[in-house]
């Protein structure tokens, strides 16, 4: 009986722990970067070994090839070294999907998946078998089957040796006798070199795009075949493309509730009355494009609509369309990857995006301590850059290509005076106290104290932070050593 009771108690505790985990995810950080370093080195070495040296071509060809290998391996090394997301939950979930695909497709060349903190919705594959998946892609998907199709698509690229073929085709064209003759002819002609070179490069670009698009079609096709061999739902491939077509749109399209967060009795600011962006005096239309220069043609990937049409044919209509149900597990993956995206924007000094994403998510999760902390920390950084006259380096341009509610935030940010951050922070704090006592909350409290020019409080919080988080994720950013970083001591 006692054993049963202990068992029940243990189960309850486990359930409690799981529930706690459900609510307390904070973005991944490890002061010890050894694992990321080793992983980055391993992938760099693997790429260099796989691509090796050019076996054909003249010396220029070989040198160019060497440069491509160097740049590719270095790019992947940096992506992994500085942004690999090696957390125990998110990474584990995507690695599990990746393993299932590999197990169902043992004939596919060996490959390794790296999840990165890049907030852009993208994934890509390198010839040696490295698949890079950006965390920014995950919030836009609805289920594991869709994620599996994205990964199958990348594996198909590896299987078809698309990278190697692309490099070879490109270098063969660039270093061909015909190309050299054309360049020589342009230079010898002496006149209008720029425009002739531009035409030549445009031709090359169109040619390259054509081959890449052909590869994308192959990858969709083979990717679908690979997916069908798994236990995942193959019809979700179509839905994945449907989602990718709108992946850049914000989660919530309604205007941000800025007044709710940043206006209070002490600072009754009307955000809706923000002045409209001054109109451009120019009425220049986008230059008309020739048939060869349609927007779709110039992209490396065909428009999603075209890919969807192709997939519909390939699957003989066996497709999933429209909104799909989201399992609690995948909802969890989406939700925590959204938090990672906020953190990633913040870590890359894109404080406008970090603030925007945090405010968007606070709408549905108003008590989330992490998001609340990121709002305050973003405000603090924005004020710092504004004081330092570097504001335009960290705040995007307003653009018709931005979502309307992002432009709404930009309008407010561009109209802010440095003295107003104090009130914004104070109003935001009134909305709900921050009960958590984690690293983020402590850093945010320090930021709020600094914005309020409460130096004694800021000093106390700084000491508290440094005592508790000796190698904390905000140490360098908030408390930089002046000589080491060149950044002004705050």
């Amino acid at each position: 009986m006692i054993r049963v009771l202990i068992g029940v108690l243990w189960l309850c505790l486990q359930a409690g722990t799981a529930a706690a985990q459900q609510t307390t995810y904070t973005p991944y950080y490890s002061a010890d970067t050894t694992q990321a370093y080793q992983l980055a080195v391993a992938h760099r070495t693997a790429i260099q070994a796989h691509l090796g040296a050019a076996k054909t071509g003249n010396s220029e060809y070989r040198e160019h090839y060497k440069r491509i290998v160097r740049e590719t391996s270095s790019e992947v090394y940096n992506a992994i070294r500085h942004s690999a997301l090696l957390d125990a939950e998110l990474n584990a979930m995507v690695q599990r999907v990746f393993r299932q695909i590999q197990q169902a497709n043992p004939q596919v060349a060996s490959a390794r998946l790296v999840l990165t903190r890049n907030p852009q919705a993208n994934a890509y594959a390198v010839g040696n078998g490295t698949v890079i998946l950006n965390v920014g892609l995950l919030p836009g998907l609805e289920n594991e089957s869709q994620l599996a199709f994205v990964l199958c698509h990348e594996l198909a690229h590896i299987q078809c040796r698309h990278m190697e073929t692309s490099i070879q085709e490109r270098l063969t064209t660039l270093h061909s006798r015909e190309m050299r003759r054309q360049v020589r002819r342009i230079i010898q002609a002496e006149y209008n070199i720029n425009s002739r070179m531009k035409d030549l490069v445009m031709g090359l670009s169109l040619d390259g795009s054509y081959h890449q698009r052909r590869h994308e079609r192959q990858a969709d096709s083979l990717g679908y075949v690979l997916l069908k061999r798994t236990t995942y739902e193959a019809p979700q491939a179509y839905r994945a493309l449907e989602l990718l077509d709108h992946i850049d749109e914000p989660v919530v399209k309604e205007p941000l509730e800025l007044g709710r967060y940043f206006s209070c009795a002490e600072f009754p600011k009307t955000f809706e009355a923000a002045p409209a962006r001054p109109q451009s005096i120019f009425t220049v239309k986008t230059p008309e494009k020739t048939v060869l220069q349609t927007t779709d043609t110039l992209k490396s990937h065909p428009d999603c609509a075209k890919r969807m049409r192709y997939l519909r044919e390939l699957t003989a209509g066996q497709i999933a369309e429209g909104t799909q149900p989201v399992t609690p597990e995948f909802a969890r993956l989406r939700s925590i990857s959204r938090l990672e995206v906020v953190q990633s924007w913040f870590d890359t000094d894109c404080y406008d995006h970090a603030l925007f994403d945090a405010l968007q998510q606070l709408r549905s999760d108003p008590q989330n301590a992490y998001l609340r902390s990121m709002v305050l920390l973003s405000l603090y950084e924005l004020q710092h850059y504004q004081l330092d006259h570097r504001f335009t380096e960290v705040v995007s341009n307003m653009s018709e290509h931005n979502p309307a509610n992002f432009n709404q935030l930009l309008t407010v940010l561009y109209g802010l005076r440095t003295t107003e951050y104090k009130q914004l922070s104070a109003c935001f704090a009134q909305l709900a106290p921050a009960p958590a006592d984690d690293e983020f909350t402590l850093a945010a409290r320090y930021a709020a104290a600094m914005l309020a020019a409460d130096q004694p409080q800021a000093t106390a919080l700084r000491q508290q932070y440094q005592a508790r988080f000796r190698a904390g994720r905000f140490t360098t950013l908030l408390f930089p050593a002046p000589a080491a970083t060149g950044r002004k001591t705050r």
Binding site: E75, N78, A79, H82, S83, R117, N118, P119, Q120, N122, E190, Y191, N192, I193, N194, S195, P278, S280, I281, F282, T283, V284, K285, P287, S344, D347, T348, D349, C350, D352, H353, Q386, L387, H389, R390, F391, T392, E393, V394, V395, S396, N397, M398, S399, Y414, R417, T418, G486
Partner: protein, 523 residues
């Protein structure tokens, strides 16, 4: 260069994030040289609405080069570009102007010895071309001066300008003979001539016209009249011209009283009060306006018919000194005099006069070099502090704001030190040696911003450089915002920008790279 100072992680991710997080910056590669005049702001009314980057590209044929005109909007987004084929290496953009519906581009064709105007609509479709041949000697002299100074000087003596007339066209101002007279030619947007106004060819005086302002109804300017080309004695006249007909509706002298002589720095039309306002400086009766040290400021107001409504003097030693802060008094006693850079009026009627101090100092090295038979100047100019005089709507002196800055040196040509203080100020101005750069204002005339650069000119631009911004306006507050403009670039420039911003440009010769960045001001 305004490369983003980011961590390596940032650098890695920035590559892929660039499209999403496009900041208000532009970095251009392959720029082989960058004079200040390579970029010119486009104004619509008071506000900067974009920029034109003018550059020579490659050869078009045996005789011609391709010249690129890149258009950017006020946020530094590239809008479009135009390529024109003109004589090799001998075609310069003198000025751009925008009248709300059309761009007027004013070029000099050195090969043909002509001036050329091209107009474009807002979609950058060409509207018209005008080639002006048979340039006067005065025009040629002014072109040379403009090219030599690389857009660093302000044209204080009138001359070659293309002034936009809102939605109507452009007025070209030019010289007749060797600056003997002036001619104003109005064109519509297609460059069809509309009206022409010239100085009297029979006049015994030398006359030049400075366009000060274009209102809803008038083209307002000042005419400087003198006995001969080298004469240092000027008489100033206030002139208003009907923009539709080109007829003079007012021409009146700034009358010299029995006790002093007057110069005219600003002449404008107050649309609300429907009166003309003249602002200038006054001099001792025996002294020469612009040449000798002035005694103070004055303001005169006239009806639309040219009748005097009132005159008010502000003596440097009396009214102004009484309103000066202690540190400003000390600098005045140290021999500094004021050079008036700009005079603006706010929407609420408050007038602001922006001045900068300067004085002549003996130069030990120059004296020694002169004694040894060299050609160095024994005297040099010294640039002092910034001053802003604030006048209430009733023209009473409200306050004088003083902004201390490090003193900097202005090299003066030999002989200039012997000239009067007023003329020395003009020389310093024409050399571009004042720290004052420009004054910006918003369309509603409620926010003004004076920009100056302060650095040790002897040690060069690589030393610590401060870009100062003094903001003032309808809220009654004066704010000073200092930007650390120190840079390792080969050349750095500050340009006007949209309200609340300045544009900072760095050129790196070695990398052939040009960086443009909008900087938000904390004002």
């Amino acid at each position: 260069m305004f490369q983003l100072k980011r961590t390596l992680l940032t650098a890695v991710l920035t590559f892929s994030l660039a499209a999403a997080a496009s900041a208000q910056t532009q970095t251009l590669d392959g720029v082989k040289s960058m004079p200040r005049s390579g970029i010119s702001p486009i104004y619509s009314g008071n506000e900067v609405k974009g920029y034109i980057l003018y550059a020579r590209a490659d050869k078009a044929d045996r005789k011609n080069d391709n010249y690129h005109l890149d258009f950017f909007d006020q946020d530094l987004n590239k809008v479009s570009n135009i390529t024109i084929q003109k004589p090799s290496g001998r075609y310069t953009l003198l000025q751009n102007s925008f009248n709300g519906t059309a761009f007027g581009l004013y070029f000099c064709n050195f090969k043909e010895g002509t001036l050329e105007i091209e107009t474009y609509d807002t979609s950058l479709k060409k509207l018209g071309t005008k080639v002006i041949e048979d340039l006067s000697k005065g025009d040629k002299m002014m072109i040379n001066q403009m090219v030599r100074s690389d857009g660093n000087t302000e044209n204080t003596m009138g001359g070659l300008t293309l002034t936009p007339i809102a939605d109507k066209g452009f007025v070209r101002n030019s010289y007749d003979g060797l600056m003997k007279g002036y001619a104003l030619q109005m064109y519509d947007n297609n460059l069809n001539p509309k009206w022409r106004l010239t100085s009297d060819p029979k006049s015994k005086y030398y006359e030049s016209f400075v366009i000060r302002e274009v209102t809803d109804k008038y083209l307002v300017g000042t005419v400087l009249r003198r006995d001969g080309l080298m004469s240092k004695k000027f008489n100033s006249y206030m002139v208003a011209i009907d923009v539709n007909t080109g007829k003079k509706v007012m021409e009146a002298p700034v009358e010299t009283s029995k006790t002093e002589q007057l110069s005219l720095s600003s002449f404008s039309f107050d649309v609300e009060k429907r009166e003309f306002v003249a602002v200038g400086e006054y001099y001792k009766l025996d002294d020469k306006p612009f040449v000798n040290k002035s005694q103070g400021l004055y303001i005169k107001r006239f009806t639309e018919a040219g009748k005097l409504l009132g005159a008010k003097p502000y003596s440097w030693q009396k009214e102004v000194k009484a309103a000066l802060p202690a540190e400003a008094k000390a600098s005045m006693e140290d021999g500094f005099v004021n050079f008036t850079h700009s005079i603006v009026k706010g929407a609420d009627g408050t007038m602001y006069i922006v001045a900068e101090q300067y004085k002549v100092v003996a130069d030990g090295l120059g004296i020694a070099a002169l004694a040894l038979g060299g050609k160095a100047s024994p005297t040099n100019g010294q640039i002092g502090n910034m001053l802003i005089f604030v006048l209430n709507p009733d023209y009473s002196l409200s306050t004088v704001k003083f902004y201390a800055k490090d003193r900097s040196k202005a090299m003066l040509p030999p002989g200039v030190g012997m000239m009067g203080a007023g003329l020395i100020g003009q020389v310093i101005k024409s050399q571009g040696d004042f720290d004052y750069q420009f004054l910006q204002r918003n369309s509603s005339n409620s926010l003004f911003n004076v920009v100056y650069i302060n650095y040790d000119k002897e040690k060069g631009e690589a030393t610590k450089k401060i870009v100062g911004n003094i903001a003032f306006g309808a809220n009654g507050q004066f704010t000073l915002d200092k930007i650390d403009g120190t840079s390792t670039a080969t050349n750095s420039f500050v340009y006007p920008a949209k309200p609340g911003y300045v544009m900072m440009v760095d050129y790196l010769k070695k990398q052939n790279q040009l960086g443009m960045k909008l900087v938000k001001l904390n004002i």
